[in-house]
Subunit: 768 residues, 2 copies
């Protein structure tokens, strides 16, 4: 495998590219015309405005204060300055806790690195290896467990360290879980009033021939939660409407573009082609065409909006049910309502901006089938994606290329190219593969029908983690080695898997070190440069922006992206825990990643990202669980490695480790997880009592009235429709409960009448 | 292995013994002096009285009506006559649903047997086996899958049948789950008012320096469930008291015995020895000694009772909290109360007679440690119990005995002895081993600290099932074969386990057939004879019984014993599902078991057993889950078997089966399990409303007052103490909530006062 020199070259390349990114960022961020790209959060908060007010014309675009370029790294201490409480206030708990994942990495791995270098590296280094022939050795192996002779008693040092590392990791994890749980509880307790605190999402309302969904919900809750029920909002299937609105917005953008083009060049009216992607077909006047299209869509939107509001079929069997108190909502969200456990399902309503509206319209029956389909699809995606990866990995093994394709020998033997191929290519190819993956996974999660964006992201994240584990981690180890040890590995029995992987692990250390450098160092440094948003912003700024509001919209602050970021961090946890005992050389590389990423993302969170929702760190149990998984994997692989290194008697000693780790996990689950899943009644009661004392005359019903309306109804460009909608809403909420018995006697006419109008204010008249 | 002839001999032996048991039962049950042994349930229900009233003296003891002996099997149709609804009314839902497990067996296996004999037996039989040498063949193998040549296409018939059997089993399981769930819901809905419907069990009340447990509970629920909270009862640690009462009762029994002895032989006062077990030491007058002992214990009991009631340390941090409505209780039982998920834990209160009082006194902290200990102990019990079983199994393999111990050859070669050893001994030895196991498992569950007897039994049952699976099923297959194929099996890798077991399965069919006959046929027939209760009743009747009440107590109706019975039935499900495809010959034996056991246990439930508690068929999810487990095991073993029979291409076809089965299980879990775990608010509200309409003036507080008092306080032989206790209780329940703030300012004095009296009626005076 690669030598220390190869790693040196790779490190030089990656450090250079990281450095280039950082310098480019330092220069670009100081230019006023990039201000909205690198500090959008402050603009969104209204704390910063366009720098156009001061200085000369050139000064608007280019920073001429050359002194400021000298302090090009001073964003780092700035990023670290803001205290955590202020950060929570500034960016929300989700972001603050997300940063703690990096801190967790540092807390786990800093003492681990020191210990491993103090104990294991000397133990490995000083051994006079007698059986060098067994594995392909290089300088790195001198520092790793491979340098120790088969069956040597030196392995007991490694076993001891495995215990120490496990206990340390568990200790840090428990501390961190405790802190995050109390942060979450404190955050929830100190939150101001929010509609979702009073509201549960009700799904799967059973169909009823006599009553509309709205009536049915009202009657059910008036009967079963008589003291607590306040009001409810039905869910409209506004997916078509949302699609039309989106289309209209896109046409509007094109119209703006053409108008700007025309205003710059008054001589020639812009033309466009009607065919596929504007590349073929008849030419028409672009401004006229887009204007007519927008007119058509505006009409269609009005019709569709009318239809959605008045057609009972567009009301989904779901509703947001609000209660008079948080206590009532907490009770309803945690209990089963009906004897049939598949109907009248209640759960906490997500924050309004966290709701993924499209999926509220999916009938519950489909969900089970969809989940099965996605499970199968994910299985195939995970296991058949391995083929290209295996091909790329084979590049890393330059020796086998040389043997198989001898005419490339001349090129490969140039030492720089060799180092480049070995150090850079496998990492970047893998990275490219993985760029498109999160989108696919997110689409899969959406298809599955989960109803909050935060949950969608968490689901995608755990899939991404599994994918990473199978393909990046296992795939790199087994496929890469498969070229060398094909005969050995051809038939894997379940029992030998930890052994087989365990044996391959020390050999793949070099690959993972380069991977960490490419993905962890250069990638993180690239993140701060924000190349894609930078380019898009300037394109938009040039072609579309006319007003200050347009410029606001052209900014793309982005957000943390839990579904992509977290599983990648988890890969570092996995690598660190697996290699801590085996190849301690890898640990410093991971430390650098965690430190760099912590600073970079802290900067981004403070200055750039704009979180779309706030889940109150609901993702922490996932983070915790995945670190535990990584720990158990590391332990199993160590068992496999040691038993194949001539120390099978180590297995009973080490088998206690996963058992202890699992019971630790169960302990944490019982002790801390409820804080992330349930909502204690005591807390709810406390907040209710406080609020009643402070605001005895609060009009809660008015406050909750329109909290959970599909955003498409709220979009302010159609004010008239909106008012009409609100009016309709108010009519609906004064609905008087009917005597259902009387309706049941005359089912047919009332069914027709309920079809003609879902809000049914006339049912009042049916009361004798 | 054994031939068809051997099985015939074994069958003859077992059928004979079953027949002997049945005849003995038929004769014994007709004797009037056995009436209380065979019809205790009717006595307990007050529907039958001692037959002493009618006929001559001899007629009291012996049935002289010889015609009745001719109809010795007529209990069978009688047992089947009672309709299910009447059975539920007569014996409770638990018993009625328990019988449905046998019915489930018949429903699954009758069509399966027909189909297997119609399709698989011809397919197996007609194959001209070319490679007879591979496995040791016997006549039975002609009917089994072993008769088919390696890699033959006939195996596709087996694969097809595996699919058919899986779908049929799942279909029946789903139907049955649905029926049982609706039976349970109907049963719960039609139940009369019971204290546990209004009550939750609260555990882990955090310690408070200012207030006693009782005050703390009252304040907490007055604050957090203001509209629903009604009253509560604290839990006293009465374990010492219960022990004393038990001791007194035992001494009383001895006193009765000696007095009876003396009354029969007035010349000699009975003597007893003081030493170990009455075998050594000084002789004393037995009646005097026991009388003085009873006096001493009576005093001690009075003192202890006083101490328990007045000492605040004997109040556990647990309480039964009752609510005004079932709705309130349902809400409290299903929600989290406090932000710390390890305190203020609420769950449904078990039925008062279902509570295992001893464990209420265990502080919560110990529970986690106890569970870990038991898990480790159970692991060792399961895996080290195998050694003796393996030894017994080796007997079954008569060929290897003959080879190893040649001097026994002469005896073994007597064909009857050979058949006896092969057919009878392994089964009965195994059975003897297993008799003592449930008691051990039950003690383990009790140690773990679960608080209801029904849960203890369910826990023991699942442990027993695991034990049965590992030791009876796997142990018989692997250990028994280990003597033949030691070289092959010496090293088992995880992947090869299904293969190894799969290969051994057809060979062990004979063993399991004899096991079914011994355990299932003769054992079930033996159950109806009730030999142990018969002997004990007559001993007691002779030595102790003086009054009618004594005779009542001497009856030991017993109960179903879910913890021992159910896992054994599950073993038959496992055997049936595993062998359905492999050796269809085994299926009729299982059918006979299910049919016989159904009739026998129906008879016992109607006439004998007296259920100690009623859990409303809460055990069904366990039953369902274990049948599913058996199904998956059968599928995996079939995959192993077929891949070793030269048809590895069957694996991808068959792998879909366990996947489908698991997803079916998940479906059932979501659809039906909530009916067994949670209590829907709608139901609660309905019952509340009905009750309010029917009995508007119900004094619920009075009704619930003493519902959850440790039975030792209720025992009527100490009426004076009981009254005092009730009085105290009433005092406690008029407690007025204190203003805690004022108490907090003076913690020390109030701590002393709360120590001196737990009920603290004087705190009322502290109100300014």
């Amino acid at each position: 495998m690669a030598t220390l020199g190869d790693i040196g070259v790779a490190a030089a390349i990656n450090i250079t590219s990281a450095f280039v990114f950082l310098v480019a960022f330092a220069i670009l961020r100081l230019q006023p015309f990039n201000d909205r790209v690198y500090f959008p959060k402050w603009y969104l908060k209204g704390l910063r405005s366009s720098p156009s007010s001061s200085g000369a014309f050139v000064g608007k675009f280019v920073n001429l204060d050359f002194k400021s370029y000298l302090r090009f790294l001073n964003w780092m201490p700035e990023a670290l300055k803001m205290p955590e409480l202020e950060l929570i206030d500034h960016a929300g708990l989700d972001s603050a806790v997300y940063l703690r994942i990096y801190l967790l990495g540092l807390k786990i791995f800093v003492p681990m690195t020191l210990l491993a270098w103090a104990v294991l590296v000397p133990v490995n280094w000083t051994n006079k290896s007698a059986d060098l022939g067994k594995f392909t050795h290089s300088d790195i192996d001198k520092l790793s467990i491979s340098n120790i002779s088969l069956g040597s008693h030196r392995f007991w040092a490694h076993i001891m360290m495995a215990y120490v590392f496990t206990f340390w990791t568990c200790y840090v994890l428990r501390k961190e879980y405790e802190t995050v749980a109390s942060m979450r509880l404190h955050f929830l307790a100190s939150e101001r009033r929010r509609p979702d605190q009073f509201t549960v999402l009700l799904r799967n309302v059973p169909p009823d021939p006599d009553e509309s969904v709205s009536e049915l919900v009202e009657h059910f809750f008036l009967v079963n939660h008589p003291d607590n029920y306040l009001t409810h909002q039905v869910v409209y299937n506004a997916n078509t409407l949302a699609k039309l609105v989106k289309e209209k917005k896109s046409k509007q953008n094109w119209l703006d573009y053409y108008q700007l083009k025309y205003s710059r060049n008054q001589l020639k009216r812009p033309l466009m082609k009607m065919g596929f992607l504007g590349l073929c077909g008849d030419q028409v006047d672009a401004i006229d065409f887009q204007t007519s299209e927008i007119e058509r869509l505006t009409k269609e939107i009005a019709v569709e909006r009318e239809r959605v509001i008045n057609d009972p079929d567009s009301i989904m069997p779901a509703a947001f049910v609000s209660f008079k108190t948080r206590w009532g909502a907490a009770v309803c969200a945690q209990t089963q309502q009906c004897r049939d456990p598949t109907t009248w399902l209640t759960e906490w309503a997500p924050e309004p901006r966290d709701i993924y509206w499209k999926n509220l319209a999916i009938p519950y029956v489909q969900l089970t089938i969809k989940r099965l389909i996605i499970a199968v699809v994910f299985f195939f995606l995970t296991f058949f994606f391995m083929i290209p990866i295996a091909f790329v990995q084979s590049l890393a093994n330059i020796e086998s290329i040389r043997k198989k394709v001898p005419f490339l020998k001349v090129i490969i033997d140039v030492s720089f190219i060799k180092a480049f191929i070995q150090g850079f290519l496998p990492g970047i190819a893998l990275k490219l593969f993985l760029i498109f993956l999160p989108t696919i996974l997110m689409i899969m999660s959406k298809f599955e029908g989960f109803i909050s964006i935060s949950f969608l992201e968490r689901r995608s994240a755990s899939r991404y983690y599994i994918f990473n584990f199978v393909n990046v981690f296992l795939g790199s180890i087994i496929a890469g080695s498969a070229f060398q040890q094909l005969n050995k590995f051809s038939k894997l029995s379940a029992n030998e898997i930890p052994k087989t992987i365990g044996v391959a692990i020390p050999m793949k250390a070099t690959f993972f070190i380069t991977y960490i450098m490419v993905d962890g160092w250069a990638g993180t440094a690239g993140e701060i440069l924000r190349l894609k948003p930078l380019i898009i912003y300037h394109l938009k700024n040039f072609f579309l922006v006319k007003t200050e509001k347009d410029r606001e919209e052209a900014m793309d602050p982005g957000s943390l992206g839990f579904n992509t970021g977290e599983p990648q961090i988890q890969l570092y946890f996995l690598l660190g825990l697996v290699y801590a005992v085996v190849t301690p050389l890898l640990l410093p590389f991971i430390l650098v990643f965690f430190a760099l990423a912590y600073v970079v993302f802290r900067h981004q969170i403070i200055n750039v990202y704009n979180q779309e929702y706030e889940s109150g760190a609901a993702f922490w149990p996932d983070v915790h669980g995945r670190v535990i998984t990584a720990l158990i994997i590391a332990q199993l692989l160590l068992i496999g490695l040691l038993s194949s290194l001539g120390l099978p008697q180590s297995t009973p000693v080490l088998i206690a480790l996963p058992v202890l780790t699992i019971s630790f996990h169960l302990f944490c689950k019982g002790r801390y997880e409820p804080a992330f899943v349930r909502y204690p009644l005591q807390e709810a009661m406390m907040k209710d009592t406080l609020e009643r004392a402070r605001e005895p005359n609060l009009n809660l019903k008015g406050y909750l009235q329109n909290a959970f309306i599909h955003p498409v109804f709220k979009s302010c460009d159609d004010d008239d429709g909106d008012e009409e909608f609100n009016e309709k809403w108010e009519k609906e909420s004064v609905l008087v409960p009917t005597k259902r018995q009387s309706r049941r006697n005359t089912p047919l006419p009332s069914k027709i009448s309920s079809n003609s109008s879902p809000s049914l204010p006339e049912v009042v008249q049916e009361d004798p």
